[in-house]
Symmetry: C7
């Protein structure tokens, strides 16, 4: 059964996601919101570097054009 | 017989695909969804590096503007 | 409860935000305005470098396509 | 007699094309489809490196924004 | 009281602004005009390098996609 | 008398043009077609390197976003 | 009195302009035409390098997304 990318984002609301950005940053947190540009709201966000939590950043609004992929 | 790119993506649903990204990453997995921007949902995803499976990443939502090509 | 990215920006009006840009700059200040492109108006802006205030820049209008993320 | 770029692509359907990409890759194969973004479907695709066939990749869907030029 | 980015630009007309560009250039001058793309007209423009006036360039029309930020 | 860019392209149809691309390539040939994105069809194309003909490539369809300038 | 960027371009028709491009090129010539993308037609064009005329290129159609700024 096929599902569109935004459907999967919708199903991921309030659940943990990993977000990889074009500049090499990775965020792990709870997906709190999104829109059609893949702008994202992530809550309880941790910035990940080399597999470990580098720092906690709380809520972040990521501009969608930075996103490489989102892993629910 | 000619086929538009999105037709081929549609035929590839639930089948294995290889996806090459602009940052050099390659994903292999099962195409679970797509949209007109070539945003992709890939399931059972493996990240490939130098011809071998580097790690398993489950489901990924790839933002379409990262895609170089998709090979069904 | 899910919230769209622009809702969160709206709730952040007149409150402190941290804005990370693609060129490595970071601004800290009070969000005074925004639009659908994530163009931002920041007041009482401080440019941050290596965790410290590098200089004060007052009001800045940031063109949205420079934004990586905004942390309210 | 003038011809628009998409007319030429249409005439090239099911014929051999060479496609040069921004990342330096070159594909040679049979044009199976295209759309207005210059997303392409290429069949019997060979990746070319330094004038020789580097490897065979079968069908590829190229996202149009990677294309530098197409030579029918 | 919130203000949209273009409102602030409108209030800045005929007043001094500092404009930082993606290529590292900075212009200081009087904002003479703008449009929704943040294309700008700056009059009595000085190009700034390392905090000092590098050269005077009179009127410049800056294409908006070069802008990082504008400081009124 | 002013002329819009696409008017000049139209007048250049079936005439020699030089096309400079963002990746440093230059093509010389006969403009056979264009569209509003500045996608171009060039016939009898020669790729130019360091002022000399590097190789002949026949017909090329150039995706417009690669173009720096066209000299009729 | 405020003036929009395209108004200034319109006033500059058939007059000398300096055009700086993102790749470092600079063109000096007579503005013969433009459109809303800031695609430009420049006549009697000289390419400038290090303050001196590097070569004469006659008419050029510059694709607007290459433009940093235009100085009338």
């Amino acid at each position: 059964m096929a599902q569109r990318p935004l459907d999967i984002l919708n199903e991921s609301l309030n659940k943990p996601v990993l977000v990889k950005l074009k500049d090499g940053r990775a965020f792990r947190g709870e997906l709190q919101g999104y829109d059609i540009h893949m702008n994202l709201v992530i809550d309880k966000t941790e910035e990940i570097a080399e597999g470990a939590v580098a720092r906690k950043v709380g809520v972040v609004i990521v501009r969608g054009d930075n996103v490489v992929y989102i892993s629910p």
